[in-house]
């Protein structure tokens, strides 16, 4: 199709829609609508701003939660709650992990009869002794 033919066809595009248009009615409707306040647009703007505000809140909240999660993951000194260790199979824990768990029970341990009198310092216990102590605390 050459350019001249395109122009010729383009001049016919939309001709039926234009013929069907009731121009007098359109003019009346336009004039009537011009007398109304532009409420619709104001409402649309308000809705849009509400959506933007909601999106910002969600993004900031999500980012904050993600940052907290990541910062906790990166802190090796944060020990998961003792209850988690107790619930796990103690055989899966290393000596250091067992020592860390027991360290949190320091006060309890000091009153416990499970602690050998000759080994008041937890650092001196080996893995077997630490497991035995933890099992006794678990009841």
């Amino acid at each position: 199709m050459n350019e001249e033919r395109m122009i010729e066809l383009a001049q016919h595009l939309g001709a039926r829609a234009a013929e069907r248009l009731n121009v007098a009615a359109t003019a009346r409707n336009v004039v009537a609508r011009l007398q109304e306040p532009p409420v619709e647009r104001v409402a649309w703007i308000q809705q849009t701003w509400l959506r933007i505000a909601a999106t910002v809140v969600v993004l900031i909240g999500g980012s904050f939660a993600l940052l907290r999660l990541r910062s906790n993951e990166q802190r090796p000194d944060v020990i998961p709650h003792v209850a988690h260790f107790v619930a796990d199979d103690l055989n899966d824990l290393s000596t250091d992990q067992l020592r860390d768990v027991l360290a949190t029970f320091d006060e309890v341990v000091s009153d416990s009869s499970a602690v050998p009198e000759s080994s008041p310092d937890l650092r001196e216990l080996d893995a077997r002794q630490l497991r035995a102590m933890l099992r006794s605390l678990e009841g």
Binding site: L9, H12, L13, R20, L21, T26
Partner: protein
């Protein structure tokens, strides 16, 4: 108190705009009567579903009259109106896409809505309409302003806030792409 100006067939658009700005509603009605059909042709060719053309024409005039203070006579009133129509159509397409009711791209030839009308349309015309749907919006509008509305590049450039050279380039890109699409 507005003083309606005597309106004749020869009243210029500028005169009618001033009258409307002074509160003369008959001037607004006259401007609608003058430009509604060319606007409807432009919107339909640019992809407006046939069933929506009436509403889109009204919306375009409402938007134009409410922002007429921004019209500085940089181009003809009709050209300015057509560019507003392009924006109205773009907004309609976004709303339709969100509601998933009337996809704009299926609206150029409303086959399902009116098969009889579709049968009347020539095959070549339908092919051109299909090709226009695939053009970028700016190329499509420049092509229609030039080919359908018969505007000069200077006029198109003023309406679209670009240069005549850029408008010419957009037109030629549109024609080249249409030649590829419509074989």
């Amino acid at each position: 108190m507005a003083h309606p100006l005597p309106q004749t067939e020869t009243s210029s658009d500028a005169t009618l705009i001033r009258a409307w700005q002074s509160g003369d509603e008959r001037a607004a009605a006259e401007l609608v009567a003058r430009h509604a059909r060319p606007l409807a042709r432009f919107l339909a060719a640019a992809g407006a579903p046939d069933a929506e053309v009436d509403d889109l024409v009204q919306e375009t005039f409402i938007r134009a009259f409410r922002s007429v203070d921004r019209f500085r006579g940089q181009c003809q009133f009709r050209t300015w109106l057509l560019t507003i129509g392009g924006n109205v159509l773009k907004d309609f397409g976004r709303r339709a896409a969100r509601r998933k009711v009337v996809p704009l791209d299926e609206g150029v030839r409303d086959v399902a809505g009116d098969p009889h009308e579709f049968a009347e349309a020539s095959e070549a015309e339908a092919m051109l309409a299909e090709g226009l749907k695939k053009l970028p919006r700016l190329q499509r509008e420049v092509f229609l302003l030039r080919a359908q509305q018969g505007l000069e590049y200077d006029e198109i450039a003023s309406a679209l806030a670009t240069t005549p050279g850029a408008a010419r380039v957009h037109y030629h890109h549109a024609v080249r792409r249409l030649k590829e699409l419509v074989k």
